[in-house]
């Protein structure tokens, strides 16, 4: 194979790959700004760009009660699971990093590897238990289930953050008379904050996207998170542009956080580590 044919093959594969990666995302945005005539074409070819691009789908979403309610529930669930997983996970990560008693590494591995347990296997037992505890169809129930998924991540991320903070810092505080609790909350946590914020965003996105647990806990109730709302709407065979508009609203925070904030957060985490 000559270098020239190699380059041609590379270019063709690259173009194909880029097209396949972009196509679904482009179609989603295209549908979300499509007017009715570009979606319901009566057997005609669906245009690659809408005849009359419009934002009316988004306007109608803002007037749609079920969408607004689902957005609010999604936010509540996500923020609550951020709170639960940070409050429970961060101290545990600190203990796992600083206290080297026997079995601590086994415990750390166990806590993190719980994530490997398949969601779809865990979901029926969780739904059954929550049904008895009256946690089905409630924000708290869904947030508790999501925390189950996110605490291992928080422990993992926070362990990485605490490992970069030198031990001298808290030892000095303790020599000066600070209690362990005081030095953890007032000295260590502020230094770890940028790294922990990355963890918090990660947990928020995990909960915002999560479908399986949310669906099993909310399938038959009035309450919906945005992913569950999408699935519930799908059974009324709605217009595709409405589906796409909700999809865009659901994706935007994730895309923004993944690309814009993550870079800043990584910089923040390392800056925090150097003191």
């Amino acid at each position: 194979m000559t270098t020239k044919t190699q380059k041609t093959v590379w270019l063709i594969v690259m173009i194909l790959m880029v097209a396949v990666v972009i196509a679904p995302i482009f179609v989603m945005f295209k549908y979300s700004i499509s007017d009715r005539s570009s979606v319901v074409t009566g057997g005609q070819v669906i245009p690659l760009w809408p005849y009359n691009p419009t934002l009316e789908q988004f306007e109608s979403l803002l007037a749609m009660d079920s969408f607004l309610a689902a957005t609010i529930s999604s936010l509540q669930v996500a923020l609550l699971s951020v709170a639960i997983s940070l409050v429970i996970g961060t101290p545990a990560a600190f203990a796992l990093v600083r206290y080297r008693f026997p079995g601590v590494m086994v415990l750390a591995t166990l806590l993190i590897s719980i994530r490997l347990f398949p969601n779809i296997v865990a979901v029926v037992p969780v739904a059954e238990v929550f049904l008895k505890l009256n946690l089905v169809n409630s924000v708290i129930g869904v947030a508790m289930a999501h925390s189950l998924l996110s605490i291992p991540y928080v422990v993992f991320i926070a362990m990485g953050v605490f490992e970069t903070i030198p031990k001298d810092l808290e030892e000095q505080a303790q020599i000066l008379g600070a209690s362990k609790f005081y030095s953890f909350t007032r000295i260590i946590l502020p230094v770890a904050l940028p790294g922990l914020a990355a963890g918090a965003i990660y947990v928020f996105l995990l909960s915002w996207d999560e479908f399986i647990f949310s669906y099993f806990l909310l399938a038959f109730g009035d309450l919906s998170t945005l992913p569950v709302l999408l699935k519930k709407i799908l059974s009324w065979t709605p217009q595709h542009n409405l589906l796409a508009a909700i999809s865009v609203m659901l994706s935007i925070p994730v895309i923004i956080f993944t690309f814009v904030v993550q870079k800043y957060m990584q910089a923040g985490a390392t800056a925090g580590a150097v003191k």
């Binding site: 590379w10 790959m17 415990l107």
Partner: protein, 314 residues
């Protein structure tokens, strides 16, 4: 001999003293570790207990039977379960190698320096940033019947692709074969960045002097790939295969949205729970799936280890 009881008393006393000292020394650590450990391990135990309890209990008219394999026997008689089982096998057998292959193609595309590499790399990570349910819904729209984009494209309706591959629109979600293919497409599309990043890390770990040595000895591009890149990449490829196979076995969202009439084991769990109203059978299916995942992971692990021994001789 007389001091023996005193001796043991002294020993046990010192042991409890040591335990007390240990607890006192690590009290803060234990206290702040306890909530997470209790929450996660507690939930795990409850889940395991519930799965086992539900799948081996039968509440009949004559009272409760435990343990009983009746749900597994009932399931094995259901054609839905047997079909789902076969579909899941095919889904995994096709999906896992495909995940590895696409990940490798993407990684090789961006492994060498070129203009705009950073941009392409960010672009290739984009599928991870789209919520899975959104990807599934988008594919639901794109593969619509009769008037979806893919049908339009394959029928040659667009100027940039004037080849008529099919003469009638395909009912993608209404055919078992195509519904599963579309689900696999979605799964592979969504997971491509993960496989790509692992393979890319593996590629970058291969020392440059290996390639230079091969070049000096007169190896061509193909030979270099076969004799250097591929063997040295096997650890990364193994990681992708093991991790991805677990993910493909338990895939739920894509088949749930795109192949609703043709359930896999994971989507059959949902059907058993919501449509059949039978949590016991749902848990029995879960156990079968869990068994399959564990078996296949161990199998892939052992096979890869054996393969690596045969392939890489240093």
């Amino acid at each position: 001999m007389v001091i023996k009881p005193m001796d043991t008393a002294y020993v046990s006393n010192s042991a409890s003293n040591a335990a007390m000292a240990f607890i006192r020394k690590n009290l803060f650590g234990i206290v702040i570790l306890a909530p997470a450990a209790l929450y996660l391990i507690g939930f795990l135990l409850i889940i395991l207990y519930k799965v086992l309890e539900l799948s081996f209990t039968f509440d009949g008219p004559d009272g409760t039977l435990f343990p009983t394999a009746i749900h597994f026997i009932e399931l094995s008689k259901r054609s839905e379960f047997r079909e789902a089982f076969t579909r899941t096998l095919w889904f995994t057998l096709i999906g896992t190698p495909l995940e590895l292959f696409v990940g490798m193609v993407a990684a090789f595309l961006i492994s060498k320096e070129f203009k705009g590499r950073g941009l392409i790399r960010s672009l290739f990570v984009l599928p991870l940033a789209i919520p899975t349910i959104v990807t599934a819904i988008t594919l639901y729209i794109v593969f619509d019947f009769p008037g979806g984009h893919v049908n339009d494209l394959l029928m040659g309706h667009h100027a940039f692709f004037p080849f008529q591959i099919i003469s009638y629109p395909v009912d993608w979600r209404g055919s078992e074969f195509f519904a599963l293919i579309v689900s696999i497409f979605g799964k592979v599309w969504r997971d491509m960045p993960i496989s790509m990043l692992i393979i890319l890390a593996g590629l970058q770990a291969i020392p440059e002097d290996q390639y230079e040595a091969a070049k000096t000895l007169g190896a061509g591009a193909f030979q270099t790939f076969l004799k250097i890149t591929l063997p040295l990449l096997t650890p990364a490829m193994s990681t992708v295969l093991v991790l991805r196979s677990i993910e493909v076995w338990k895939e739920f969202i894509f088949p749930f949205i795109l192949a609703g009439s043709y359930p896999l084991l994971a989507t059959l769990i949902e059907r058993a729970y919501h449509e059949w109203r039978n949590p016991n059978e749902a848990c029995a299916i879960s156990l079968v799936l869990l068994g399959l995942i564990i078996f296949s992971t161990v199998f892939i692990f052992k096979t890869l280890k054996w393969l690596r021994h045969r392939l890489v001789r240093i």
